[in-house]
């Protein structure tokens, strides 16, 4: 008798633990939010909260597709460089179209965005080919791409910064109904990616591949095709992030975007995306990215010296991941 009771109680605490673990990251989010509100009077200002969103939008745009890649068991280290290259190319195209060819600025703007995305797609395609056809480990392939494309971006402008980028900068600075345009784009993409991941076959296959690649193959899923699509989507988002970044910077900077992939990956992992594959959500990633953004913001507001900022950032990431991982998985992963 005694034992049955024991076991039931056990089960109950187990459920509580599970819920706790599952929603830990949201609790963490709320905790950081609350602490920040107390720590700095500036934090809760609407304009500051809008700032946080604006500052995280570009990271989020990279992090959404990267979440899908990680769920499917691979990764991408090149998005930062891709954003630099595609962004610079898009800006140059815009400047040429408006100043030399006299194209209408709105049309030129749309074409420039399309051009950046197109270039991103091509790079994503190349990444995909190298990884799926030639079986180069994704880490190495995208690390090499990160190096090469950064070189290409620098070559494109001869190492110079492009000034006078014109009205396209409104994409980075403008607002619609009080919402900054990058934030608006991020929110739209959040909805699209959530649907893509949860409601389409493509998304379902992403989970399946990450969960058990062989089972996915045996179920008739064309794994290489799905991977190709994922890298192409990643490239496209890199392109979009790139042009938005340049518009925010108000210049075409071939050195921009360095290390963005790490922040994007950090956000995704904080948000519960599993490095072993098969698990993760877009909402989690959004929350993860916002956590990173909030930390950066509050450290600035409190004028924490950058050394401490760096040290604390690392510590916080580890603590957050530990809280999130506890008991989730017992195997050590790369």
């Amino acid at each position: 008798m005694n034992k049955t009771v024991d076991m039931r109680a056990n089960k109950k605490t187990h459920i509580i633990q599970t819920i706790f673990k599952k929603y830990m990251i949201y609790i963490l989010f709320i905790a950081i939010f609350a602490i920040s509100s107390f720590a700095s009077p500036a934090f809760l200002k609407v304009s500051n909260l809008v700032n946080i969103l604006r500052q995280t939008a570009i990271y989020a745009i990279i992090a959404f597709p990267i979440t899908m890649l990680i769920i499917s068991g691979v990764t991408d280290l090149s998005p930062g460089s891709v954003a630099a290259f595609t962004g610079v190319a898009g800006i140059v195209a815009y400047v040429d179209m408006t100043t030399k060819m006299g194209v209408n600025p709105v049309l030129a703007g749309l074409m420039a965005v399309a051009y950046s995305i197109l270039l991103g797609i091509i790079i994503g395609f190349v990444n995909g080919i190298i990884i799926t056809k030639f079986k180069v480990p994704a880490f190495m392939a995208t690390l090499a791409m990160m190096t090469s494309i950064r070189g290409a971006a620098l070559l494109y402008t001869g190492g110079n910064v492009i000034y006078q980028i014109g009205d396209i900068a409104v994409l980075g600075k403008g607002s619609v109904l009080g919402i900054p345009i990058p934030v608006l784009i991020m929110l739209i993409l959040f909805v699209i990616f959530t649907i893509l991941l949860k409601k389409t076959m493509y998304g379902r296959y992403i989970y399946a591949i990450g969960g058990n690649e062989e089972a996915a193959v045996a179920s008739g899923i064309n794994v290489n095709k799905i991977r190709m699509i994922s890298y192409i989507v990643q490239g496209a988002m890199g392109g979009l992030a790139g042009i938005l970044l340049m518009c925010r910077l108000n210049t075409g900077q071939p050195t921009a975007g360095e290390g963005y992939e790490f922040d994007a990956i950090t956000g995704a992992v904080l948000g519960g995306t599993s490095f072993t594959g098969g698990e993760g959500t877009m909402f989690g990633t959004l929350v993860g990215i916002l956590i990173v953004g909030m930390i950066n913001n509050i450290f600035n507001l409190l004028s924490v010296q950058s050394y401490y900022h760096q040290i604390l950032k690392g510590v916080l990431i580890v603590v957050a991941v530990i809280i999130d991982m506890r008991g989730k998985n017992s195997k050590v992963t790369a």
Partner: protein
């Protein structure tokens, strides 16, 4: 092309170019271009191999300087100097590697955009042993090296002096002064901050807040956006480079808080000069790279051909304070950038 025309122009008025006034330095440099002609005549016509260790080609300022070197080498020194340019990618260890490789290639002289003068000291000693001439832009503790110097201490002091002057004029009560650092731990970033703050403190001003944006515009924008939340009144923003100050200007402009705020920085990038001309950026410090490059290349050529230049162990590259008030200097820099094709 435009540069060449200017050179001939300048040649006509060479005699007058004796003063050390900053505005005249370009011409001063070109006066040397003329004296070069005389030394060449005496020479066998040998081509010397020069290794040029570029600090980093992924930054707007350093790559602007590097391309000025290559442009001058091509246009003014063809057949006399063969300049090998290698990028040190802002890594002191890479710079050492690059210099080692130059020595292995038996170059005649090395021009170095120095990352850390003490780190390369052993290399300079080795060059001394091998008779390879060494020209660099920071003070190296070795009698073999020639300096065509651009000291970050000067940048810091000029920043500080200008800020003090501006603040004194405006007579603001308890001014909010923000300092935006470059990459912490970097020589230039540290020196610019240190000496600027020294000047400010000496004049009784206290910097309200200091933080880094790692030389980067995106980080500068985010940092400035966040600062705007904390400080209702911002009087002065001092930045360690132009990339960051341009980001700062952008944010302040967007917030409608640029008017009456001083934003100053170092580098005189095309964008910064334009921003000064547009009345947005208050001031930027310009190292006269045209003159500086010419001084270095001339020195390299002279040393290789055996000309005695021991009197010129230390030459300072002139620096300009570029503001809207000093139209002459401003125009000079607009011209420099127009010639380089970077000014739009």
């Amino acid at each position: 092309g435009g540069k060449k025309d200017k050179a001939t122009d300048a040649a006509g008025t060479t005699k007058a170019a004796e003063t050390t006034k900053a505005a005249e330095t370009t011409k001063a440099a070109e006066s040397k271009t003329e004296s070069k002609e005389t030394t060449t005549a005496a020479d066998s016509g040998k081509t010397f191999k020069i290794g040029f260790a570029a600090k980093g080609l992924s930054d707007a300022f350093t790559s602007m300087e590097a391309s000025e070197y290559m442009r001058q080498a091509k246009e003014n020194w063809a057949g006399k100097l063969e300049v090998l340019q290698v990028d040190c990618e802002f890594d002191t260890n890479k710079q050492i590697e690059v210099l080692e490789n130059f020595i292995a290639q038996d170059v005649d002289a090395i021009i170095c955009q120095t990352d850390d003068p003490e780190a390369i000291l052993p290399i300079v000693e080795e060059c001394k042993a091998k008779g390879i001439h060494f020209i660099n832009d920071l003070a190296v503790d070795c009698d073999w090296a020639y300096e065509v110097e651009s000291d970050p201490q000067d940048d810091g002091e000029l920043l500080g002096e200008y800020a003090v002057k501006w603040l004194d004029e405006k007579k603001i009560e308890n001014p909010t002064i923000l300092f935006m650092q470059g990459e912490v731990g970097n020589q230039h970033a540290n020196a610019r901050e240190k000496y600027c703050k020294e000047k400010l403190e000496a004049a009784g001003y206290k910097v309200t807040d200091t933080n880094t944006a790692n030389w980067q515009r995106d980080e500068a924008i985010a940092l400035m956006e966040n600062w705007c939340q904390v400080y209702d009144k911002i009087d002065a923003v001092i930045c360690a480079n132009d990339e960051m100050s341009l980001g700062v200007v952008q944010v302040l402009e967007q917030e409608g808080r640029l008017d009456g705020t001083m934003v100053i920085s170092v580098d005189a990038l095309a964008g910064a000069v334009k921003s000064v001309a547009d009345g947005k950026l208050t001031m930027t410090i310009g190292k006269d790279i045209v003159a500086g490059c010419d001084m270095s290349l001339q020195l390299a050529y002279d040393l290789c051909s055996g000309v005695d230049r021991s009197a010129d162990k230390l030459q300072k590259v002139p620096k300009d304070i570029i503001t809207l008030d000093d139209q002459k200097t401003l125009q000079k820099w607009i011209d420099i950038h127009t010639a380089a094709g970077t000014y739009q």
